[in-house]
Symmetry: C2
Subunit: 520 residues, 2 copies
């Protein structure tokens, strides 16, 4: 780590900010200068936030996160800070930061809960954040956090659940507020923040929260601050989100595990039945074979097609980096594939393999799916089509654990358990809000942001549009290879630093171009 | 438990044995009487044997088993007891018990190693034998072992790895020797025993042991003492064994787990590819779709077909007891299905399900298979056909862990790791040895034994026929629902008691009908 005298830092700050010609450039310089002096402060506060376990179903954990976030807002002078609660769900964390003279209100959405995990798969415990000089697969070693005035390698990564998805966004936006205040710059918009606590669990209570607190949540536009930047490392602005629903399947075999020699060829093998079931639904190229599945899919518009064509060619680099000899896309670009629904197999568990394998026919086989939806699909209709397909394949579908009577009465029995779900959203690619976001992000940036019709990820943007009647656009900052949702989730420091600059540029610049006109 | 005065027992013994009219009936009465007085002694010795961990790959464990067995033989006056060893393999345990005046030598085969296991799936630790009044699924409770003169419920079960497969056979045959000695009856045959230590690991060293110790292992016929009795509970004599080989498959996806939203429909999903691979090989009815797979299958002979037709109708009872709404057999009897090869899926592991599920595309998918062979299939040819099928489905087959270069060079890469394997054997259903076994088992039995063309299980009988040029017939004693190879393996006490009678009847009666003629 390098160490610079604080006096020199202060002199550099003044010089950089003075040299900048536009609000965006000045804000980015202010962010960089602030971070230059405060890496230790930022990373310690971020680590404290990441050290709080945050699986949505563990309500005491979730509450500790929410209280910590309230304190983070309070420390920065946010007003009206509070938990927005409804019965039975995790609270949303809310706060306001009005700016004198601003006429527009920007609301920043992020979520503080994380995906469930299996700690055994992690290199280090998921809620004990550590900085590593490189990835564990490349022999990365744990290194110390820098102190203020010191600088960690920006390629180093902080490892913890939610480091990338999505506590990174919270940390970056609040550090941007700190940076602007340190530089004496007032945001050009009134700011509100809204941090959800069950995004990874399907946002079951979000609608009720938005409806209950509608009058407080007014604003002219929402930014959905979640997800990774483009694989090339460039900032992107994303106009759509996919919907999602999840299914857990149980296929039943004999009521006790059987010797495969004495019963093979006679007792049905639930693992084989499950494999045949999966094969009936999806081919090796991602094509969903469920009848009617694509009927509701909204065609790609010419504007969306142009935006996809304008994206930098990166797919082949990505494919090679992932060790893939092919994609499922037959040469179509990744961005175009995300405009289609996806049926993803999350996992299968049946019997044993390798060290735990034995010559038996298992009693039950489990599979887990996530179904990514696009406009105008709905979870309800997709679920109906899915179950109708199973029935056509000869399966008796039950939603409860199958009794022996049910198992005896039907040749093939499958239990389907649906998780919660929601539809997709995809905003039109122009309009005052979108134009203001893009203009503010271009201003002072080394490269213009990429403009993407939809992310492949799912988010509850549809709800904000439905309930609050405001446009919502996504602005992600995490590195694309952050192992989001998986073991060894991480955030590359460079992405945190870039994120702070991005938010500073938005806060400083958006008010100038957004105007006072009624937003769409 | 009931308690009878010992004097009364002794009186009963004399009366029962005296009343019996034939050698078999007298031997059975002697066995029952002996057991009646010594349940505690028998079950304690058996428990001590079962308490020794016995997975074939753990050589120190295996050695402890072998030493214990040598001591069991020594205690009973077996001569020439020793370990038959070859480099790198578990020892076989050997001993002889000559009988004055006998002209024929019977060799009893059993194995003392057990299937690998996952202790987490067991109700109680697999190598801490416990007696339960009924099965754990029926609320069974642990009960004390009886003392001599007491009687446990014969429906109670002893739980431990190898309780059924195959230490039960060893315990029953040695208790039969004790019973005959207590009754003052000499066996009608010279007896040899041969206990293998790696049957569950594929018997890789058995051929070498048989070849090395060929001169010691002479005999007129071998009984393969392993496996369960008929599902109806009746004793059976089995003329064939299936061969087996095992395959572990690894299908490769991206080199790191990916967010299913951002990469679904683009990055190949190894779980789906594996499901499609399995579906290409086997249908829901057990039909193997690998080209040429049935070409080597020896047709069922008229004698075999008659034997199958003579078996009691039990399949439907069995199907219902197993909670199955159908079988894979389309109405064909189980015994007929065992005459065909079987491709059994042992298990699948990919990603996570239920609590461990997350919205990711996994990096690798694993499947484990056992392939049951029938005459005249060979493991080598079956393995070739299996791999040729994969290649025809577009898979690049490797036997090593796939490097990134290999993964990039091929659209679909699968690693296949073959376990050891051996062919099937099926003896003709008549001949002096077979007739002598059946006659001895009929003599004094309440019901005649069932005569079965082949077991579904696999065993190395082909080797004995190839190397020693002697006929081998199987004589199982365990209960059919002993969870053989699975968790909570158990032996029903009634099967142990019946087994002791069976061996006593054989030892007492076989010499009478076997005759001095040259065996086939």
């Amino acid at each position: 780590m390098r160490l610079r005298p604080l006096a020199l830092l202060a002199a550099l700050t003044v010089a950089r900010i003075a040299a900048a010609q536009t609000p965006g450039a000045r804000a980015r310089a202010a962010a960089e200068t602030y971070r230059d002096a405060h890496e230790g402060t930022i990373l310690r506060e971020f680590s404290d936030l990441l050290a709080l376990p945050n699986v949505a179903r563990d309500s005491a954990d979730i509450r500790r996160n929410a209280d910590f976030l309230l304190a983070m807002l309070g420390k920065r002078g946010f007003t009206n800070t509070r938990l927005l609660t409804v019965p039975g769900g995790p609270p949303a964390v809310y706060g306001e930061l009005p700016s004198p003279g601003a006429t527009r209100t920007l609301v920043l959405y992020a979520h503080y809960d994380g995906q469930p995990l299996d700690p055994k798969q992690w290199t280090s415990p998921p809620w004990q954040p550590v900085l590593r000089d490189r990835e564990p697969k490349d022999g990365g070693k744990v290194i110390a956090l820098p102190n203020d005035g010191q600088h960690a390698d920006p390629q180093a990564r902080l490892y913890a659940r939610s480091a990338g998805d999505d506590k990174a966004s919270i940390m970056a936006m609040l550090a941007a507020v700190d940076a602007m205040r340190a530089a004496g710059t007032a945001p050009s918009v009134n700011l509100k923040v809204f941090f959800e606590g069950e995004e990874e669990a399907g946002s079951a209570h979000l609608r009720q929260i938005l409806e209950t607190y509608r009058s407080q949540l007014t604003g002219d536009g929402w930014l959905f601050c979640d997800g990774p930047v483009h694989q090339s490392g460039r900032q992107q602005v994303v106009f759509g989100q996919r919907g999602v629903t999840e299914a857990e399947l149980t296929v039943y075999g004999p009521t006790r595990a059987l010797h495969s020699g004495h019963y093979g060829n006679w007792a049905p093998n639930p693992g084989v039945m499950l494999a045949n079931l999966i094969a009936s639904m999806r081919d090796d190229d991602g094509r969903i074979k469920i009848a009617g599945y694509y009927d509701d899919v909204r065609p790609i518009t010419p504007a969306e097609r142009r935006a996809i064509a304008a994206l930098p060619a990166y797919d082949d680099t990505l494919r090679r980096a992932l060790g893939l000899g092919r994609t499922e896309a037959n040469g179509a670009p990744l961005a175009e594939r995300l405009m289609l629904p996806a049926l993803n197999l999350r996992g299968i568990r049946v019997g044993g393999v390798r060290e735990t394998g034995s010559n038996t026919i298992a009693t039950e086989a489990y599979a887990s799916f996530d179904l990514r939806l696009v406009p105008n699909q709905t979870p309800e209709r997709v679920q109906r089509l899915f179950e109708a397909h199973l029935a056509r394949q000869g399966w008796f579908v039950t939603h409860d654990s199958a009794t022996t009577a049910v198992r005896l009465a039907h040749p093939k029995v499958v239990r389907v358990q649906w998780g919660s779900g929601y539809p997709a959203s995809r905003a039109p690619m122009d309009g005052p809000f979108g134009r203001a976001v893009i203009a503010a992000l271009r201003d002072g940036a080394a490269e213009p942001p990429l403009v993407i019709p939809t992310t492949g990820g799912s988010g509850p943007a549809y709800l904000f549009e439905q309930v609050l009647k405001v446009p919502m656009i996504s602005l992600p900052i995490a590195n694309f290879d952050d192992n989001q949702h998986a073991a060894d989730e991480n955030l590359k420091l460079k992405n945190l630093w870039d994120g702070i600059e991005t938010y500073a540029a938005l806060l400083a610049g958006m008010g100038k171009t957004w105007g006072a006109a009624v937003t769409p």
